[in-house]
C-alpha cells in the first residue's frame, strides 16, 4: 500500500554520533553502577544508625522496666542500693543491645568509616 511521501528517511543524525555512541554508553553504565554503589552504602549507614537508635530505645525500656521490677520486689532504702542498681539488674536483656548502648562518638565514627 502506497502513501503520500516516500520511504526515504527525512531524519538526520549529528555527525560522528554513531562512532562515539559505544563509548558514551559505557560511560553511562559506569556512572549508573557508581550511583547504585553509593546508594547501597547510604542505605547500609541508615540501617546501622536505625539499629542503634532502636537498641538505645530498647535499652532505655529495659532499664525502666528493670527499675519498676526492682522497686516492686525490693524497696530501695538507701542511696547505696540505688547506686548498685545497675550491677544487680536481674533482667534478661540483650547483651548486644547493651553493647550498642555503650558506644560513644569515636566508636560510631569508626564503624561509619569501616562501612565505607
Amino acid at each position: 500500500m502506497t502513501l503520500p511521501g516516500s520511504h526515504r528517511n527525512p531524519f538526520k543524525v549529528p555527525e560522528g554520533y554513531f562512532s562515539t555512541l559505544p563509548e558514551r554508553v559505557m560511560q553511562s553504565i559506569n556512572q549508573e553502577e557508581q550511583a547504585q554503589k553509593l546508594s547501597l552504602v547510604r542505605r547500609r549507614r541508615s540501617l546501622f544508625l536505625m539499629r542503634m537508635g532502636i537498641a538505645a530505645a530498647l535499652t532505655g525500656v529495659f532499664i525502666f522496666a528493670g527499675m519498676l521490677a526492682h522497686q516492686h520486689r525490693n524497696a530501695v532504702t538507701s542511696g547505696a542500693d540505688a547506686v548498685n542498681f545497675a550491677q544487680q539488674l536481674d533482667l534478661d536483656y540483650n547483651d548486644e543491645t547493651l553493647e550498642y548502648a555503650m558506644l560513644d562518638n569515636n566508636d560510631i565514627e569508626y564503624y561509619l568509616t569501616v562501612a565505607e
Binding site: P4, G5, N9, F11, K12, V25, M26, E32
Partner: protein
Amino acid sequence: MYNEEELIQQLKAPATREAAFRTLVLEFQEQLYWQIRRMVLTHEDTDDILQNVFIKVWQGIDQFRCDSKLSTWLYRIANNETINYLNKHRHRTISLSDGEEPDTDGVRIQLESDPYFDGDETEKQLQVAIQTLPPKQRQVFNMKYFQEMKYEDMSLILGTSIGALKASYHHAVQKITNFFEHLD
C-alpha cells in the same frame, strides 16, 4: 558480521563482557536508533532513550534466556522504553487516544525547527499524520512501512498476534490516508 551464539557467550562471561557489549552496541545501534527516532522525532529524546535501552541490556544480560534472538530481545526493550517515555511525556504527544484534538501544528512547527529534519512538505505531513496514531499502532506502522519488517518478526517483538498486527497496520494506513484527504 557477528556470530550470535558466540556473542551471547562472550556477553555472559565477565572477562569478555565489555568487549562483547561494545560489539553489540556497534551492531545494533543504528537499527534501534531509527526505531526510536521515528516514534519520538527528536534526536535528543532518541539519544536519551537509546542510552537507557543499552543500560537495561547491560543490566539484563545475565537474565537473557536465549529463547529468542538477540535482535528480538533488543527491539523489545527499545519498544518498551519508547512507550514508557511517551507515556511519561504524554503532554508532548498528540495521540488521539486521549480523546483530545491532536496538536498537529505543534508537531509541524517542531519538525520545521529541527535542524536534523530535512524532509519536504509531503514527508513532513506524513510524519505529522504518523504522530496522530496511538503509540502502539505507530510502532506497528513504522516497523512495517519503513523497516519492512515481517509480521512474524513483529509478533515476536511486540508480543501481539499476526492477525492483530495486520489489522492494526491496516487501520493505521487508513487513518493516514484520511489525514491526507482532509488536507486536500
